[in-house]
């Protein structure tokens, strides 16, 4: 540790004003503060409300994603061997390793592309490098299907970081969730690779697939009136995007986020409440020719990306509503919209992604009304006293 510290102190002058590599000072700063807690203190008015800075917050989210990631790797291997019909012949570690090999390149591509753009734009603007991409870079692989080509991950990440984040001013200024933007880009640009029956299987080819193999996701099956059992979808050995299948793994992550206070319980709970309410409502209406409307409300919560979106996407502090009351409305509408899209538009089985992006767009509006209501209430109080 000391050697590392000494090395950093030695090269530091080169990166400071007037040094040889002054242009890259924000790159240096990023690595220095990543390795060591900065010991600089503010000299003017401070706004610190917590001992945790943005990097530590982001690390907590990445830690919370680890269960979903590990399970995703295992499930990717599991689905691959299910497709080839070799499930009985392989051990736990062989399954996990297969999935690991499938998922790791996606993670690497997402981080390399995203961080390269982040660093480049920070240098160009003379800003410090922001930490926001640490989480986005991990979320992007988790919302991809296992068989997505790597170059698509790269293109989508670049699109999401440039047009979703940098053009608005970088971390903290974006109003769409970058990871979802990457997914929605691929969903509309290359629909054949992002949906259908084969995208979810690593190295899918019809030659190795067992006879009569059908690989539809629970949501696609539900559209045809076949409901996957609640427990299967809850534990998550089902086809789907890498990180989204297991509600158990996601709930462990949710627990970490809530225990550390990184994510807002208000948003998270109200997404589920919204989903339950709308799912229940459709159950009551239950039109006979729409199998999705009859899907029991509790199944909606464990199918597809609902859990993952509610825990990791909707609670993103940058893109969600910031007023405390607003979070309830924001979350409720995400849950409700997701179910509405799923049920009423079979073309978009994954309504969660679109619902969150839609509500991201409206979050500032919700905040505006809550802030305005507060201002009006206080004004009224003022006039009564006067």
């Amino acid at each position: 540790m000391n050697a590392l510290r000494n090395f950093l102190d030695n090269v530091k002058p080169k990166f400071q004003e007037g040094g040889k590599f002054a242009k890259f000072r924000s790159t240096f700063g990023a690595f220095e503060t990543f390795l060591f807690t900065p010991n600089e203190t503010n000299k003017c008015g401070v706004h610190v409300r917590d001992a945790v800075d943005l990097k530590r917050t982001m690390i907590v989210v990445v830690l919370a994603l680890v269960p979903a990631l590990l399970f995703g790797m295992y499930n990717t291997g599991y689905q691959h061997f299910r497709m080839t019909g070799e499930l009985a012949d392989v051990t736990f570690w062989q399954i996990f390793f297969k999935g690991f090999l499938a998922v790791l390149p996606i993670i690497v591509v997402s981080y390399v592309v995203g961080l390269a753009i982040e660093f480049a734009s920070a240098q160009m603007r003379g800003h410090e490098v922001n930490e926001g991409f640490l989480v986005s870079g991990m979320l992007i692989p988790l919302v991809m299907p296992a068989d997505v080509p790597l170059w698509m991950v790269g293109v989508a990440t670049a699109f999401a970081v440039i047009f979703g984040k940098e053009v608005y001013g970088g971390t903290g200024m974006n109003f769409w969730n970058p990871a979802l933007l990457a997914r929605v880009f691929l969903f509309f640009a290359y629909p054949t690779k992002m949906s259908g029956e084969t995208a979810w299987y690593y190295n899918y080819s019809s030659e190795v697939a067992v006879d009569g193999f059908s690989g539809a996701t629970p949501l696609a099956l539900a559209n045809g009136g076949h409901y996957t059992a609640f427990s299967d979808a809850f534990f998550g050995l089902i086809p789907g995007s890498i990180g989204e299948t297991s509600a158990v793994a996601i709930l462990i992550g949710a627990f970490i986020l809530l225990y550390t206070g990184v994510a807002s319980w208000k948003t998270m709970i109200s997404v589920f409440v919204g989903g339950i309410a709308m799912g229940w409502l459709f159950n009551q209406i239950g039109s006979a020719d729409n199998a999705m409307a009859q899907l029991p409300w509790y199944n909606h919560l464990v199918y597809g990306g609902f859990c993952f979106g509610a825990v990791f996407m909707a609670t993103d502090p940058v893109t969600s509503a910031r007023t405390e009351g607003g979070k309830f409305i924001y979350g409720f509408l995400i849950g409700a919209m997701a179910i509405v899209i799923r049920v009423l538009n079979p073309g978009f089985p994954e309504g969660m992604m679109l619902a969150i992006l839609l509500m991201n767009t409206f979050a500032p509006l919700i905040d505006h009304f809550f802030v305005q209501a507060n201002i009006n209430r206080r004004k009224k109080r003022l006039t009564i006293k006067a």
């Binding site: 053009v167 509309f188 640009a189 290359y190 629909p191």
Partner: protein, 208 residues
């Protein structure tokens, strides 16, 4: 005939006062007809002709039009020209007129037209008005063609319907058409990129 003022009327809409990228007018049709290059070019030419001719007609009438009903008079002139262009397209370029569908008729609602009539033709002689109309039409066409070029090239892998990108290079690994490029949002993003590029290169256009 080609005084400094006339030159300006013709040239500024092509660059520093472009109707699409600087005044942000005519965006709807820039989204709608730019999925392919050919319709975009035809649309650009149609708008250029209609803007120029309606500018001339209104400019000739400008002293006799009562101010209170001028919008209606302008609309009648534009509507007549749009109808003529629409019929000509149907007669001589039927396929393209089918592709453009309602958007030829909707040229009448193109903000660039009414904007030029109100802002320029009502105050100026016919000849400068004509140049102004041609300039604005071409400035609009220019953006349409740039947007359509990228959308058709990356969305369908073709230009004017001729295959450019779709070849299997190595073992089936070739260009994959980007479906998002063919959707209207991408046109908006490309227009935004053009605006971005233009403002980065012209200090005058940057907002304080």
């Amino acid at each position: 005939m080609s005084s400094k003022k006339n030159k300006e009327a013709f040239l500024t809409p092509l660059g520093l006062n472009n109707p699409v990228t600087v005044q942000v007018l005519g965006i709807c049709s820039a989204l709608a007809v730019t999925a392919k290059l050919m319709p975009a070019i035809v649309m650009g030419i149609s708008v250029t002709i209609i803007t120029a001719l309606s500018n001339v007609v209104i400019s000739c009438l400008r002293k006799t039009i009562p101010l209170r009903i001028r919008i209606i008079v302008q609309l009648v002139v534009v509507a007549a020209l749009v109808t003529i262009v629409s019929e000509v397209l149907k007669a001589f370029a039927y396929d393209i007129s089918v592709q453009l569908s309602v958007y030829v008729g909707l040229i009448i609602t193109n903000c660039i037209l009414m904007g030029r009539l109100e802002a320029f033709a009502m105050q100026n002689e016919p000849w400068p008005s004509f140049l102004d109309g041609i300039g604005n039409g071409l400035g609009y066409a220019k953006i349409l063609i740039i947007v359509a070029f990228f959308r058709e090239l990356f969305g369908s892998g073709t230009l004017f319907g001729i295959n450019i990108l779709n070849y299997d290079c190595v073992a089936g690994a070739g260009y994959v058409n980007n479906g998002l490029m063919l959707m209207p949002p991408m046109a908006l993003i490309i227009v935004a990129c053009i605006i971005w590029w233009q403002r980065a290169h012209n200090k005058d256009l940057q907002q304080k």
